[in-house]
Amino acid sequence: MPVRKTLRSRRTGRRLAADAGLLAVAAAFALPLAWVVLSALDPHAGLRVKVPDGLTLDNFDAVLKPDITYTPLLNSLILCGGGTLLTVVCAALAAYPLSRFRSRLNRPFLLTILFATCLPITAIMVPVYALFVRVNLIDTVQGTIFFFAASQLPFAIWLMKNFMDGVPKELEEAAWTDGASSLQSLVRIVLPLMGPGVAVVTVFSFVMMWGNFFVPFMLLLTPDQMPASVSINDFFGNRGTVVYGQLAAFSVIYSTPVILLYVLVSRRLGGGFALGGAVKG
């Protein structure tokens, strides 16, 4: 018995130590986050974390205007919504033959996809810009959507294929004997059965595009078309002195959707959702 007793008390001690260590790290991580939340509510926000002089929603009032918030968020929604839709549809279609039919080409194709997943997309933005100028896609929403979709596709196909492999084939075979086509069985049987998987791919693509700065920064020129990730820069520069409270309020508004989406999906799938397919190391 004594062995077990010491083990248990040792374990309690270790738990307390682990808790303390984690909370210390978390405090360091929380400081910048605390700044944005507190400053958004502070009538006299500066650059350091402090308890607000008084709570106010004036900062939100000041930024909730068409040209500052609504237009950029709408632009973000159009770009990322369009890009995500295109990504998910193309990825679902592409994953189907890769998951369902045997072919000598599957392996090389999947290896190429995996390879492309890891390429630093930042590096090709300069040639993409030059190419877009040549084919008149520069400063167009559709061009940016196409590029967003293409850059997200390798990972989306990879994830989608892994999720699809988890759906048993028997149900589809039954549908085939009843005369359903491949497309019908994909839409009616496979996709509904892998609902959480499709949700993961959708949310992941959307979150990646929503936060992306470099792609719209390079491919769009007209201020009216800029998504929130780029327009946030306007708080510096042309407006003279930076009103930090407003910058913080805008940051909160801009970040909330992706955080909510993440929470929604990770709850349903038990955390670390995006990693399931990618890093089974």
């Binding site: 062995v3 083990l7 270790r14 682990a18 808790d19 984690l22 909370l23 790290v25 991580f29 929380a30 910048p32 986050l33 700044w35 500066g46 650059l47 350091r48 974390v49 549809v89 193309c90 279609l93 592409a94 072919s103 290896l111 995996l114 390879f115 890891c118 390429l119 630093p120 930042t122 590096a123 090709i124 933005m125 300069v126 040639p127 810009y129 030059a130 190419l131 196409f146 293409a150 850059s151 596709l153 390798p154 491949s182 936060g211 700065f213 470099f214 946030i232 820069n233 910058l247 940051s251 801009y254 970040s255 992706v258 955080i259 670390g272 990693l275 990618a278 890093v279 089974k280 190391g281």
Partner: protein
């Protein structure tokens, strides 16, 4: 007949393949081509082929070598050392911590990761500025303060990248640690192996594949960081935090030398591809 069946079956692949060829493979091929030309942004009707001139120029250019060095510092500090070690530490502490602490800490660290890049940049800009939170704390502790973004810009952006990217490693390592059978660690514990020895002799060897993939992915991610550094320092002061993506951008757009900028991009792409190939070897049983 057989060919036709194969073609029908491959049909759903076409939209994805078309997009990938036009918007990903196309630009990469174009990149490989214009890196060997003297293409400029303005006032030039034709560009001509210059061979390896851009690359030769790059390796003689102090600003380029500076960018290579800073990229190396940034990657080693923030990805190999920072995100990787801190992520593993957090994950293994979480194995022992109580549930509420685990939830709170996980939530905070993951929020930093999910936040849009530019917002993360602003938050850390505010944190490191002269009037910012870090100096407020140092002041309170009676430690010397300094203008971090001016004195140690590359260190500040590296910390920013650790803040932003650690959640990924934490999630990878949490998943890996959860897969280690409890009996093994418990047996070692009864045999009297201390925490560090268990970590070194049991845990690390058992999760070595996860370590490999995590290091690869972190490195690739870090190689392409642009927005975070752009927001915090624009690569400055001078070019003291100008990593390769920012150098590439400056050459191509602020100095209008697309050919030269693309040559740098191609080098970045080649380095990325090498890492990518190693990563695939680590994962090769998966396909």
């Amino acid at each position: 007949m057989r060919l036709r069946r194969t073609l029908t079956r491959a049909l759903p692949l076409t939209p994805a393949v078309a997009l990938l060829l036009l918007f990903l493979a196309g630009p990469i091929a174009y990149c490989a081509y214009i890196a060997f030309t003297d293409l400029q942004l303005t006032g030039q009707a034709h560009s001509s082929f210059v061979g390896f001139e851009n690359f030769r120029a790059a390796f003689k250019d102090d600003a380029f070598l500076n960018a290579v060095w800073l990229t190396l510092v940034f990657t080693v500090l923030s990805s190999l050392v920072g995100q990787n070690t801190l992520g593993l530490a957090l994950a293994s502490l979480m194995q022992r911590a109580s549930k509420p602490v685990r939830t709170v800490v996980g939530g905070i660290v993951i929020t930093a990761w999910v936040l849009p890049e530019v917002v993360a940049g602003f938050l850390l800009y505010a944190f490191f500025r002269r009037e910012g939170t870090l100096n407020a704390i140092l002041d309170w502790l009676h430690l010397p303060t300094q203008n971090w973004l001016f004195t140690l810009p590359i260190l500040a952006v590296s910390f920013a990248n650790v803040w932003r990217g650690t959640a990924f490693s934490m999630l990878v390592y949490s998943a890996a640690l959860n897969e280690i059978p409890k009996e093994i660690t418990e047996a070692a514990e009864v045999d009297g192996a201390g925490g560090w020895r268990r970590m070194w002799h049991i845990t690390l060897p058992m999760i070595r594949r996860s370590i490999g993939t995590n290091l690869m992915l972190n490195t690739l991610q870090t190689l392409s960081v642009f927005g975070l550094i752009w927001v915090m320092t624009r690569g400055g002061p001078g070019n003291r935090s100008q990593t390769l993506p920012l150098f590439m951008y400056e050459q191509a757009f602020q100095k209008s030398m697309i050919g030269y900028g693309t040559a740098v991009a191609l080098l970045l792409l080649v380095v990325g591809s090498l890492f990518s190939l190693v990563y695939m070897r680590l994962l090769r049983t998966e396909v």
